[in-house]
């Protein structure tokens, strides 16, 4: 029974705002693709017709963080790059989620060296860690589905305890 049938019979449905917003959010998770090394290739494969991320409503890869919901960090994050990643994360509007794709991003992986951050959770809150070097595209889809599940169960009150930004005071005015 689809939505149409429901509308035909009663003309209305009952739900909560949270459920409705959650349903809308989970079916349009727009990723911010941050393909900073080899994992980026698998991320592109996911967007291609074979794996087709559009089936999950996430085909809109926006190259501006201001329109995105989930940060997809696909690749080795060096200390020099970490500032860029953080800057992009900061520009994304709330609510936002982070997928750490590949072992490099999750733990530093095989790059146990001075230049690579040993896991982006040193400076970002990560929702999903994705194993593999690189993870297979279906694995990334799995991560996306887990994120969708998480989004579906997110309620508006989960954001209520986030402190508001202090208003900026301009001197002399």
């Amino acid at each position: 029974m689809g939505l149409e049938a429901k509308l035909m019979s009663d003309g209305f449905i009952t739900t909560t705002i949270d459920a409705l917003v959650g349903w809308a959010r989970e079916s349009s998770v727009w990723p911010m693709p941050l393909g900073i090394s080899c994992c980026g290739i698998e991320m592109m494969a996911v967007a291609g017709p074979k794996y087709d991320i559009a089936r999950f409503g996430s085909e809109v890869m926006r190259f501006t963080p201001r329109q995105c919901d989930v940060l997809l960090v696909a690749g080795t994050v060096t200390y020099k790059m970490s500032h860029v990643v953080k800057k992009i994360y900061d520009q994304m509007p709330d609510p936002k989620w982070v997928i750490a794709m590949g072992v490099c991003t999750s733990t530093g992986g095989m790059y146990r060296s001075y230049s690579v951050v040993q896991g982006i959770d040193h400076f970002l809150p990560v929702d999903i860690y994705l194993a593999g070097c690189p993870p297979r595209p279906d694995n990334l889809l799995n991560a996306l589905m887990l994120i969708q599940d998480k989004i579906k169960h997110t309620r508006a009150r989960d954001f209520q305890n986030i402190p508001l930004l202090e208003p900026v005071k301009v001197n002399g005015n």
Binding site: V85, S113, Y114, S115, H122, P125
Partner: protein
């Protein structure tokens, strides 16, 4: 006469004072000489009509971790005309490691020399823009030196605030 047999006699003739140490390993010719001669020798190799080494493929260095002759700077140059590749090597010392830049001859050496400076701290004199390449510009250490620890020095590179 093969180009390979020509190079060393020509160099010896042009620079009678310099000692050229020649190694031929599996067909790869390597010439080692004093670091002060790098610019004139490269100039000669590039501009001589029979040699024409017109491409610089790589500049790098080796840290031997020894007191004397601590670093060796290695150049790979190629002659498109003769289809021949040559390796040049010069020792530099631990105390104020420096060598003349070859950027005036080969523009491609610019970033190679910056990279070598970044990783080993060898100063290339007369380089047009000797800045760090990979590491942040204010960084103090040279990561590919042997005394540098694998995981770096704690606190030398900053992470963004959480």
């Amino acid at each position: 006469m093969e180009i390979k047999d020509k190079i060393v006699p020509l160099l010896q003739e042009q620079f009678p004072e310099t000692n050229f140490e020649v190694t031929d390993f599996r067909g790869d010719l390597k010439i080692k000489f004093d670091a002060s001669q790098i610019y004139p020798v490269c100039n000669f190799l590039k501009n001589h009509d029979d040699l024409k080494f017109n491409m610089c493929e790589d500049v790098t260095a080796i840290d031997w971790a020894t007191k004397k002759n601590r670093f060796t700077v290695v150049y790979h140059i190629y002659s498109l005309e003769n289809k021949f590749r040559l390796r040049l090597a010069c020792d530099v010392q631990e105390n104020h490691p420096h060598i003349a830049s070859v950027v005036p001859l080969w523009k491609s050496a610019n970033w190679y020399e910056r990279e070598t400076y970044d990783m080993y701290g060898i100063k290339f004199e007369n380089h047009p823009d000797l800045r760090r390449m990979y590491m942040p510009e204010e960084y103090e250490y040279y990561p590919l030196r042997k005394e540098y620890p694998l995981m770096g020095i704690p606190g030398d590179l900053t992470l963004p605030k959480k």
